[in-house]
Symmetry: C2
C-alpha cells in the first residue's frame, strides 16, 4: 500500500546526492518508488543536468508518463537539452497519442519532423501527425487515438480478444466503442456489461445507443461542460459523418477546467500570462506590468480630469476628500457586475433571460446598492461634515456612479462575448480604469454644479 | 445516437403547455427523451407546481438522478414542497448514498428523521446515517458507500458473481477493491484485468497493491488535488486502520474543483456568497453589499486621511491630481501579489521555497515594477507638469506604495493560511482597502514633506 508522496527538502537533498554520486543503482531504486506525477514535481527542484541524468534512467513507459506530467515550460526546457532521437525513442514512443501530439506541437517544425522520423511505430507516428492538425483548444486537440473499437456484429468473446490485443496500448479502458463496417459510431458497451453477459452474446444485443459524443471541432471548454454535466469519464469524438476518431478522458478535461478557471482568475487579478509564484522574477514582473501600465495610464487620465477642476479645489479643497471613495466604488461595482456575467458565461448558467432583462436586473441591483450606500454616506456626512454641498455631492455622485458601473460592467462582457472575444478580459484593468475615470468626471462635475449653486444663494 | 440537448424557449413553452394540459402521457414521453442533467436544467424555468407535476411522473431511478443534479437551493425549495414519505420513496430510495446524504444533510433534523424513517431499505438508510457524520468538505463527506469489494483469496469467477449481485446498486464500476477478512484495503483490480485473465485465477495474483487512497478526514480540496495529480477516476476511502469505507468518483471531485475555483473567483471580485446572474435581485444585492460597505468604510477612512491635509491642498491643489493613481496602483499590486499566493496554495504549486525567499522575490518584483512605473510617471510629469515638487512626490510615493503593496499582498494570504483561514479572503476587499489607505497616507505625507522643502528654498 502506497502512502501519498510528500515532497520534502530532505528528499530532494537525498536525490541530489545520489545524482552527484552518479549512483545509477540507487537512483533507479528511488525512481521505482515514485509515481510519474511525483517525478514531474521533483523536476522544479533539479537543474537541467540533474534532470537529464535522472530521467534518462527511467524505463520508457515511465519516462513517457513523466514527460506528459511536466508543466509546459519545464518540458520545453528539458526537451531542448535532448537530441531528437532520444526524445523519440526514450519518450514519445511510449506516450499516448494525445500527449505525444501536445509535446511535439510545442516544438519548432524542423524539430517536429526530426523527432517524428525517429519514431519506430509508423502507426503511432501517423496518429500523432493526424492529431497535430487539430486546434489544441478543440475536442480534436484533446482526444487520443488510443481506444478500443469493436464491430456491432461481434460477440463478447471476440471483443475480449480485441481488448487483449490492444490492451498494451490503451491504459484506461472503461468502455468499448461499437462501430459499423464504415467505422461509424453506433454506441458503447461498458466493461461491466462484457463481464456480466454470456461470452456468446452479440454486441448489438447489449449495446447502449443513447450515448453522448462530440465532434472534433467542439470547443475544449464545451467538452468540459458536457462531461461535467453528464458525469462522463470518457467521451467519444467523431467527424462530421459520425466516424469514430478518438476519445477524450476525464483527466484531460479536469486540466481544461483548471486552466480555464486559472486563466479567468489571473485576468481578474490583472496578471496577463500563466505564472506561478515559483517562476523567475523576470517572468513575474513581465506578467504583471501590463495591468500596472494600464492603471498608470488611467491614473494619468484621472489626473487630467482633476486638473480641470484645480480652481474649484483651491476654493473647496474638501471636494478632494471623497475622490478615492468614488473611484474605488465605481471600480468595485464594475468588477462585481462583470464577474457575475463572466462566470455565468463560463459555466453556462446565464439561463434564457434576454440581455434587456439582465440589464434591467443589474440596474435594479445597482439601484438598491446605490440607494443604500448613498444613504449611508449621507448619514455619515450629515453628522461629521459641516459642508452640506459636499454631503449632497458625494451621495448623488456615488449613486450615479454605482448605477453606471453596474450597467457598464454588464454590457461590456456580454458584448465581448458576442464578438467571440474572451469576456474575462472585461473583468480586469479595463473595467476598473474606465469606471475610475467616469466616476471622477461625474463626481467633480456634480460637485462644481452643487458647490456653485450653494454659492449663488 | 443522442444529440446534445440545448435548452430553448420553444422547448420550455412546449413543456409548460403539456403540464398545463395535465397530459401525463405526453409528459412521460418528453421525460423519457431527456437526460437527468437536462431535466435539472429545466427546473429553473418552471414554477414549483409545474416542477412537482413533472418530477413526480419520473420513474424513481431517474427522479433520484434529477434530484442529485439540481442545484442546492433549487433542491431545497423543491423538497420543501413535498411530504417526507414522497421524498423517501420517490427520490432517496434510489439515490447513491453520497447524494442521498447530501440531500438529507440539507434538511432540518426533524425532517431528516422523518425522511429516514420512510426509507424501506434498512442498509441504505444506515449508510446514509453513517455518511451524515462526516464533514461535507472531507473525503468522508464526498464518498459513497456503493462500491464493489472482493476478498483477496477469491478467484475471478467469484468476483464476477459478486459484481453481478451488486451491479444493480453500483452504477459506474471501473475497479473492484480487494480487502482481507477484516475489511482492510489490500489493493485494486481493474475490470480489464478481470476480463483478460482466466476465470480460475486467484485475485492475489493479479492484484495491484500500489494504490493511492485517502482517509475519511482528508480535506475535499486535497482529495481533488490528489485525483487530479494522479489522474484517477475513483479513489478508495479508508479509516485510520485502513479499513475500506467508501469510494469517491471523479465526477464529485470535478464539482469540488469547480466550486473551489468559483468561490475564489467570487471572493476576488467582491461577492460574498454563491450567486448566479439568474438569481433574484434581492439575493444579488445582498451578496454584493458587504464588499461595497467595506469599500465605503475604506473611502471614509481615506476622506479622513485627506482631510488632515486640507491646508496643504488649499495651497497646492495639484496634490489632489494623483490621489486616484496612487490609490489604484496600491490596490492593483496588492491584488496581483495576493492572487498569485492564493492560486499557488490552491493548486499546491508554491514549491519548497521558504516564506523569506518568497517575500524577497515579491520584493524584487515590486522593486522592478515600482522603478518602471515611477520612472514612467516621472517622465510624463517632467514633460507635462510644471511642478517639480509634484513630480518627485508622485514618483517616490508610487515606488514605495508598490513595494509596500507587494509585501503586504504576499504576507496576508500566507498568514491567513497558517491560521487555517481561507487565504482567498485576502484577495478581495480587505487588501485593496488597506492598500488604498496606506497609499494615500504615504503619498500625502511625502507630498507635505517635499512641497515643504521646496517652499524653504
Amino acid at each position: 500500500m502506497e502512502q501519498i508522496f510528500e515532497l520534502s527538502k530532505e528528499y530532494i537533498e537525498e536525490i541530489k546526492q545520489v545524482i552527484a554520486d552518479k549512483d545509477e543503482a540507487k537512483a533507479k531504486e528511488l525512481l521505482n518508488e515514485l509515481h510519474a506525477a511525483d517525478l514531474a514535481e521533483i523536476y522544479d527542484e533539479l537543474n537541467i543536468e540533474e534532470a537529464k541524468f535522472l530521467y534518462l534512467l527511467l524505463d520508457t513507459e515511465k519516462a513517457a508518463d513523466v514527460l506528459a506530467e511536466l508543466e509546459d515550460n519545464d518540458r520545453e526546457r528539458f526537451l531542448k537539452a535532448l537530441p531528437p532521437e532520444v526524445i523519440a525513442r526514450q519518450f514519445i514512443d511510449e506516450m499516448d497519442s494525445d500527449d505525444a501530439a501536445d509535446v511535439i506541437g510545442e516544438m519548432s517544425e524542423e524539430k517536429q519532423e526530426e523527432v517524428l522520423s525517429h519514431i519506430d511505430d509508423a502507426e503511432h507516428a501517423g496518429d500523432i501527425v493526424d492529431l497535430l492538425n487539430y486546434d489544441e483548444d478543440s475536442a480534436g486537440g484533446l482526444m487520443a487515438k488510443e481506444y478500443i473499437a469493436v464491430q456491432e456484429d461481434w460477440n463478447i468473446e471476440k471483443c475480449i480478444q480485441e481488448i487483449k490485443k490492444q490492451s498494451e496500448d490503451v491504459d484506461d479502458i472503461y468502455f468499448v466503442y461499437v462501430v459499423n463496417k464504415d467505422n461509424i459510431l453506433k454506441g458503447i458497451v461498458s466493461l461491466k456489461d462484457l463481464l456480466l453477459h454470456d461470452s456468446k452474446e452479440i454486441i448489438t444485443n447489449i449495446i447502449n445507443t443513447e450515448i453522448i459524443y462530440v465532434k472534433t471541432d467542439t470547443a475544449a471548454e464545451e467538452v468540459a461542460n458536457i462531461m461535467d454535466k453528464y458525469d462522463l469519464v470518457a467521451i467519444p469524438v467523431v467527424d462530421s459523418i459520425n466516424r469514430l476518431l478518438g476519445r477524450i478522458t476525464i483527466d484531460d478535461v479536469v486540466d481544461v477546467i483548471r486552466e480555464e478557471a486559472e486563466k479567468d482568475y489571473q485576468l481578474i487579478s490583472g496578471i496577463t500570462s500563466d505564472v506561478e509564484s515559483s517562476d523567475h522574477v523576470f517572468h513575474l514582473t513581465r506578467a504583471r506590468l501590463p495591468w500596472l501600465l494600464i492603471g498608470l495610464f488611467g491614473g494619468i487620465l484621472g489626473a487630467q480630469v482633476i486638473s480641470h477642476y484645480e480652481g474649484d479645489l483651491r476654493i473647496y479643497p474638501e471636494m478632494a476628500f471623497f475622490i478615492p471613495l468614488i473611484a474605488a466604488m465605481g471600480g468595485n461595482v464594475g468588477i462585481q457586475s462583470s464577474s457575475i456575467i463572466v462566470q455565468g458565461l463560463a459555466n453556462n448558467s446565464l439561463g434564457l433571460e434576454s440581455t434587456g432583462k439582465k440589464l434591467f436586473k443589474e440596474l435594479s441591483v445597482g439601484f438598491m446598492n446605490g440607494i443604500i450606500c448613498a444613504a449611508l454616506i449621507m448619514g455619515f456626512n450629515l453628522i461629521f461634515s459641516d459642508s452640506m454641498a459636499l454631503s449632497v455631492t458625494v451621495s448623488i455622485a456615488l449613486f450615479i456612479v454605482i448605477l453606471f458601473a453596474s450597467v457598464f460592467g454588464t454590457i461590456i462582457p456580454l458584448t465581448l462575448n458576442k464578438f467571440k472575444i474572451d469576456p474575462a478580459l472585461a473583468t480586469g484593468p479595463f473595467i476598473t480604469t474606465v469606471n475610475d475615470i467616469m466616476g471622477l468626471l461625474l463626481y467633480l462635475t456634480i460637485g462644481r454644479f452643487i458647490f456653485g449653486m450653494v454659492n449663488v444663494f
